[in-house]
């Protein structure tokens, strides 16, 4: 029983990759409706990716091999990170063996963004360097907040494996969602905005020279490389959404691999992600982008929230 559950757990990462363009499409559609537009069909990101995969690549004359390798590293690192999280199936305590935990996940995401920042420097365009330096600044501030928020969930479940945390919280019920979790959830939401290049830290739908971060790094990429990077960044967004719902609000997730439990888990997961997309669309429509020098304040607030969450979780577990 143990082996198929382990394999099934890792295969959930593929679900994230397959569903990520759909989630991005739904998000764009919701935002378009809020802007009184009709907007692109929800399957548009799939069409974009399919077209990009069939296109030729143009590589700048100044770029070395690193430029070509970087998109594959980004894609592989994101895929690895996706295989560590529960989507519709939690990991039971009885399933033996160790699986990569949340620290590995954060590390893999950092590897991906490091590769992308290096690749962006390669083409020798001014925008690439600007985007890389901004991305590194944002990530250096977001990462401590991210880790601290994740540790709150780990403290509650006494394990740092995402799959086991989800199983613990789902089985314990409402008692597992204390004030610490509420703070950590808020912190993780803010960090997710920064990590995925959403408003108010970065705007995914603009190419304004003064503000762009992620878009500045991918300006020089074309064809298949661009498709891989875009796909990976869509998967990263869905990965963070999955972390938000499955670490803190995993109720309904499948605790065993029976067909009924999996179907229920998938339905509940789709509902939760759709709800989160709606929240994100509302938040992005009603906020303006922050000035770049205000981003540290924003991420500082996220870090403080995560820290308060960690302390309250500690007090509840061990007392003063």
């Amino acid at each position: 029983m143990e082996a198929p559950l382990n394999a099934g757990f890792a295969f959930q990462g593929i679900v994230i990759f397959l569903a990520a363009p759909l989630a991005a499409g739904v998000l764009r559609k919701l935002k378009a409706v809020l802007q009184n537009r009709l907007g692109a069909p929800v399957v548009q990101p799939y069409r974009d990716l399919r077209k990009l995969l069939g296109k030729e690549e143009v590589v700048s004359g100044t770029a070395s091999g690193l430029f070509r390798v970087a998109p594959y590293v980004v894609f592989a690192a994101t895929a690895g990170a996706c295989s560590l999280v529960p989507v519709v199936l939690a990991r039971m305590a009885t399933a033996g063996g160790a699986w990569g935990d949340l620290v590995v996940l954060v590390g893999l995401l950092a590897l991906g963004r490091f590769a992308l920042a290096l690749g962006a420097l390669e083409a020798g365009s001014a925008f690439g360097g600007m985007g890389s330096s901004r991305e590194m600044m944002v990530s250096s501030l977001a990462e401590p907040a991210l880790l601290t928020a994740l540790f709150v969930a780990a403290l509650e479940a006494r394990t740092s494996e995402a799959g086991r945390i989800a199983a613990h919280v789902a089985r314990t019920g409402g008692a597992a969602f204390g004030p610490g979790s509420a703070f950590a959830l808020a912190a993780l939401f803010l960090v997710a905005l920064a990590e995925c290049g959403r408003l108010p830290v970065d705007n995914p739908s603009t190419h304004l020279e003064l503000t762009m971060i992620h878009e500045a790094m991918i300006l020089e990429y074309s064809g298949r490389s661009l498709a891989l990077i875009e796909w990976a960044s869509q998967a990263r967004l869905l990965l963070f959404m999955t972390l938000l719902v499955d670490l803190f609000l995993p109720w309904g997730i499948a605790l065993d691999a029976s067909a009924a439990a999996l179907a229920l888990g998938a339905a509940v997961y789709a509902l939760k992600i759709a709800g989160l997309c709606a929240v994100l669309a509302f938040a992005e429509t009603s906020t303006a982008k922050l000035r770049l020098f205000r981003v540290p304040d924003f991420l500082g607030a996220a870090f403080v929230l995560a820290l308060i969450g960690l302390f309250s979780q500690g007090f509840i577990q061990w007392g003063l």
């Binding site: 537009r37 069909p41 548009q44 974009d48 030729e56 143009v58």
Partner: protein
């Protein structure tokens, strides 16, 4: 925050249905277009890079209206992009001035195959009011192979979008 959302709800859908393009508005020029559309999987996703080769900015105003809620080019998968590396369509406006001739050629080289060149507006087609000027190198056709020609001075936003989509559809079927 809620003021914006309330206003969104009050306004309702601003997007107008697209008027079908009239045949007099555009011409297909290149033989290459059909092959390009095939390799672009039917043209349901088009990233457009706008190149101003010396235009009076009349065409630019009409093109920037395409991204507004009223025309909403994104509903057809048409997306204006910031980099020629991402582009499937080069939308060239204005007569090609001597200063912009090299830049236009470099933009064309920077875009990955398959790429579609659209000459947009009367100046791009034959130089328009600027034809024969000492500062003008010629029409877009004199510099790049043009696939689609869109007439008008300036063409209406609906005509630009309609002509682009109709041309892509016709070439895809042919």
């Amino acid at each position: 925050m809620f003021r914006i959302l309330r206003r969104c709800a009050r306004t309702g859908l601003a997007t107008l249905p697209l008027e079908p393009a009239r045949d007099a508005d555009y011409e297909l020029a290149g033989e290459k277009l059909r092959e390009s559309i095939r390799r672009l999987r039917g043209g349901r996703s088009l990233y457009v890079r706008e190149v101003d080769a010396g235009s009076c900015n009349g065409c630019e105003i009409e093109i920037s209206a395409l991204t507004s809620p009223v025309y909403d080019a994104e509903r057809f998968g048409v997306h204006v992009t910031a980099s020629p590396r991402h582009a499937d369509v080069l939308l060239v406006t204005g007569p090609v001035t001597r200063q912009m001739e090299l830049a236009l050629k470099m933009t064309y080289e920077a875009a990955p195959e398959p790429k579609i060149v659209v000459a947009c507006g009367d100046c791009a087609l034959d130089g328009g009011a600027f034809a024969g000027s000492y500062a003008v190198a010629g029409a877009v056709e004199d510099v790049l192979p043009v696939d689609i020609r869109i007439k008008g001075c300036p063409p209406k936003p609906s005509a630009i979008l309609g002509a682009l989509l109709a041309a892509v559809e016709r070439a895809g079927k042919a």
